[in-house]
Assembly symmetry: C2
Homo-oligomer: 247 residues x 2
């Protein structure tokens, strides 16, 4: 939760880069109003702490940790998850650069889930208290933050629907399309990407076992919809994939 030393800020520049590299992404909803209304970007540096570097497997926060900040992903990928009473893991989300996580801690002042880096990642810490102070002065910041939370709600509800109404094939196809479109938003290839998460994580997110996920990938490959080489995914036919996802 501490400010990182100055010499690290050269490699992880935050938050300036966001506005340049992610002008159209989720995070811009927080950064942009600040920049626009104050006409002073240094203001941003004041509220958003410099990037926290995380190694693969590091926890950003754990279930029951005190809540003090939300986090914007700068690079890499973070998964959030809960552990059920019988010890199994439920992945509740994958967060890519430009996306914000940690809002689950607001209601009880402790986090209701854990967040773990799936690969070497950097996040920006946005101290909640200062965000609150600032929001009272900048109504647009407040409304953008509410939008962020509301989006989290609708996305969770989409996942509920996906899990309870769709087949294994539809679920996997939908996730691939989701990652694809999030890549597109980041100006990356929507057809060619590396999955940062394991098959187990995918299964735990979609309510499936590893074996089923693996079989679905094989089936989709046999159909020619996509090619999969371990973690490398190449989508050959977006149209057909959308049909299979029935979205």
């Amino acid at each position: 939760m501490t400010h990182l030393a100055a010499e690290q800020s050269t490699t992880i520049q935050c938050p300036h880069d966001f506005q340049i590299s992610c002008g159209n992404c989720r995070l811009s909803k927080i950064c942009l109003p600040l920049a626009l209304e104050t006409q002073d970007v240094t203001y941003l540096n004041d509220i958003i702490q410099r990037g926290k570097p995380l190694q693969k497997g590091d926890h950003l926060y754990r279930d029951k940790d005190a809540f003090s900040a939300v986090y914007a992903v700068r690079s890499g990928c973070i998964k959030t998850y809960r552990i059920t009473d019988d010890g199994r893991e439920q992945v509740t989300g994958f967060y890519f650069p430009g996306e914000v996580l940690g809002m689950d801690g607001i209601s009880e002042n402790t986090h209701a889930s854990s967040a773990k880096a799936l690969e070497t990642s950097a996040v920006c810490e946005i101290p909640f208290e200062r965000l609150g102070e600032l929001a009272t002065r900048l109504p647009s910041l407040q409304s953008h933050f509410l939008q962020l939370m509301s989006r989290e709600i609708t996305e969770d509800q989409q996942l509920i629907t996906l899990i309870s109404k769709n087949s294994a094939e539809e679920r996997v196809a939908a996730l691939m399309l989701s990652i694809s479109s999030r890549n597109a938003r980041r100006k990356l290839s929507p057809s060619n990407f590396r999955l940062p998460m394991s098959r187990i994580d995918i299964g735990n997110y979609l309510g499936l076992t590893v074996e089923t996920v693996s079989r679905v990938f094989s089936r989709l490959q046999k159909l020619g919809v996509l090619e999969v080489a371990n973690k490398e995914i190449q989508i050959n036919d977006h149209e057909q994939l959308r049909d299979l996802a029935s979205i």
Copy 2:
């Protein structure tokens, strides 16, 4: 969305009653800070519109409707749901008196789900714009509203976990326990209540078919955990029900 005529305010008094009858419930999180900080309850009347009466089957809002307010349930029960691409219904929540719904509309300015009364109900309309204005002046109101949204997120994530990791029996048991504890919060019997929703709704909420829900109720009754007479539920053994829900 309009203020109701004055003569109706005698039967549906709002929001005074909330603070008396639901001092410990969710809604208090919105009402109380207002009352405490202003020392003037009429202030509340200014922001919270008088109750909207709804008949069974009436819609409070529909998917894609313009978003202008959130709603606090005053009496009755409201379900929220989405329609999937193939026409099936996914119930995303049941809202009892003292609970707030409609936050899904904030991100896109249109509702992402529909809300329908399961029985004769009354709700309070809380115009979002005025809530926002007021929140900039009352930081505690703002933080309470954020808490409300955060709780919605954690509850949705609990449902995700329930659906993807638990058996039919566990899901139904968990729902019964949830309704039971929400009744307790309203000072109603936690052991004896009437279900406002149909078996179909329960199934659509828990990701099960009607038949499975019905079979589970029969099984639980055979075990002596609860007694079910159509919509009347009597929980005989909370302990055992918790075990069955594995919560």
